[in-house]
């Protein structure tokens, strides 16, 4: 079967012979494709091995950073936080809880579930309170997670 488009007219005899000899000869262009393709795949496999070596032996661990920049809108206090998986393996269903303890007021709690948190990944969100968290004692921690 011939290629559909030949800008230089129909294939000459040289092309024809070449396609007859294909068992032994690929064109230079095909070798270039193969070389690039092999490099891409080797690179992919190499990256997978690299990831295996660096990350998979380290179980998930979490660092939660609570921002000082509390935003107040309509009498509610928005406390941004960022959680980072400092381990190597992925964690699922990471449960982040926040407890705000102010003397003389009922304790306020917030919960946040993060579906996936890969190694070295950071995800951010906010807790919303009705009392000023800077007055009381705010504790943000990771309560639980699942392995995939």
């Amino acid at each position: 079967m011939e290629s559909p488009n030949y800008p230089d007219g129909p294939p000459d005899s040289a092309t024809h012979n070449e396609s007859q000899d294909r068992l032994t000869q690929r064109s230079a262009a095909e070798w270039v494709t193969f070389t690039v393709a092999a490099l891409i795949l080797l690179g992919l496999v190499g990256l997978i091995f690299f990831d295996w070596q660096t990350n998979q032996n380290r179980p998930p661990a979490f660092a939660v950073a609570v921002s000082e920049a509390v935003r107040v809108t309509d009498g509610r206090y928005y406390v941004p936080f960022a959680i980072t998986n400092t381990g190597g393996r992925i964690a699922r269903m990471v449960q982040v809880t926040a407890e705000l303890d102010i003397a003389g007021v009922d304790e306020e709690t917030g919960e946040q579930q993060i579906d996936f948190l890969s190694g070295h990944e950071t995800k951010a969100g906010s807790f919303v309170f009705t009392h000023d968290p800077q007055v009381g004692d705010l504790v943000v921690r990771v309560a639980s997670y699942r392995l995939p």
């Binding site: 079967m1 290629s3 294909r22 270039v32 997978i48 295996w52 992925i90 190694g119």
Partner: protein
């Protein structure tokens, strides 16, 4: 010799570029459904490197088998070594296309951790590479109907097993391709175990019967397919046998896909295996029937 090379050079490079472009387009046609399936990304994110290597190996084997009879180049007769090289190329084109598509949809950004990005790329590479390997026949309609022949590696291997393998591939690659095309973006979803677990007892028999009936109806009763032409192409089974074997192919494809997506693992009870596989077997067999008509 030099003269000839000079004359053919522009053609050779242009033709190669065209072949790669066709492969890429075929990859996108095949890969889009699973690109838009959330579960494929999330399963990819959570998969261990060891499993990713397994998925990549299975992809290479699958594309390798397809390359025996299909391919993204126009070549119709192929040395086994060339088929091997073309397999590598097809998977690499699939990888590049899958990566570009994931970047385009912001599923991979500069902030994505390496392991997540790798998982997504590897799982999306599967349908993209299959699409690349099918580019010639999907993009060229009737002209692409001709199947490839591969020259035997040696006299010894040219004997029975190899010829039989090729015949079986020619007969059932279309069913397999259709099944994978439809079921690959269904296999990772939660709907499969959800449906499977809510079926009343013995309902599976109804699903099995429906799968066989629909598959039979699509190919033979609808009058879509030209029997004479199909017979010419080597499909010499009787309709009932062909339907049964195609259904088994669809079920086998379902098992492989469910296992690759880690929907099923050896610790699951066998009844879950059975019901999940039969539930996924329904769309897979419909896809297989459509594949046998269209490809």
């Amino acid at each position: 010799m030099d003269e000839a090379t000079d004359q053919t050079r522009p053609n050779v490079w242009l033709r190669e570029f065209q072949a790669i472009l066709q492969g890429a387009v075929g990859g996108f046609l095949f890969g889009i459904p699973s690109l838009y399936t959330v579960e494929v990304w999330s399963i990819g994110e959570a998969t261990t490197p060891r499993w990713l290597l397994l998925v990549l190996t299975v992809t290479l084997v699958g594309v390798g088998l397809l390359t025996q009879v299909e391919g993204f180049r126009q070549t119709l007769s192929l040395h086994p070594l060339e088929a091997f090289l073309e397999t590598i190329e097809a998977v690499a084109i699939g990888t590049v296309c899958a990566t570009l598509a994931l970047v385009l949809l912001c599923r991979i950004t500069l902030d994505t951790p390496l392991s997540e990005a790798l998982g997504k790329v590897v799982f999306e590479t599967v349908p993209f590479s299959l699409g690349v390997a099918l580019a010639r026949s999907t993009l060229q309609g009737n002209r692409g109907r001709d199947r490839r022949t591969t020259a035997p590696i040696s006299r010894r291997l040219s004997s029975f097993s190899r010829v039989n393998l090729r015949d079986a591939l020619v007969d059932f690659d279309a069913a397999l391709i259709g099944a994978v095309l439809i079921a690959f973006s269904i296999a990772p979803t939660e709907e499969v175990p959800l449906l499977a677990s809510s079926l009343p007892p013995l309902w599976l028999l109804l699903i099995l019967a429906a799968s066989l009936g629909l598959s039979y109806a699509i190919v033979f009763a609808s009058g879509f397919a030209d029997r004479a032409e199909r017979r010419q192409r080597g499909l010499l089974f009787s309709p009932i046998t062909e339907t049964l074997v195609a259904y088994l192919v669809a079920l086998l494809a379902s098992v492989v896909m469910l296992v690759l997506f880690q929907q099923l693992n050896p610790s699951d009870p066998w009844s879950e295996w059975l019901s999940d596989v039969l539930v996924l077997g329904l769309p897979a067999s419909i896809g297989g029937a459509a594949g046998r008509i269209l490809i």
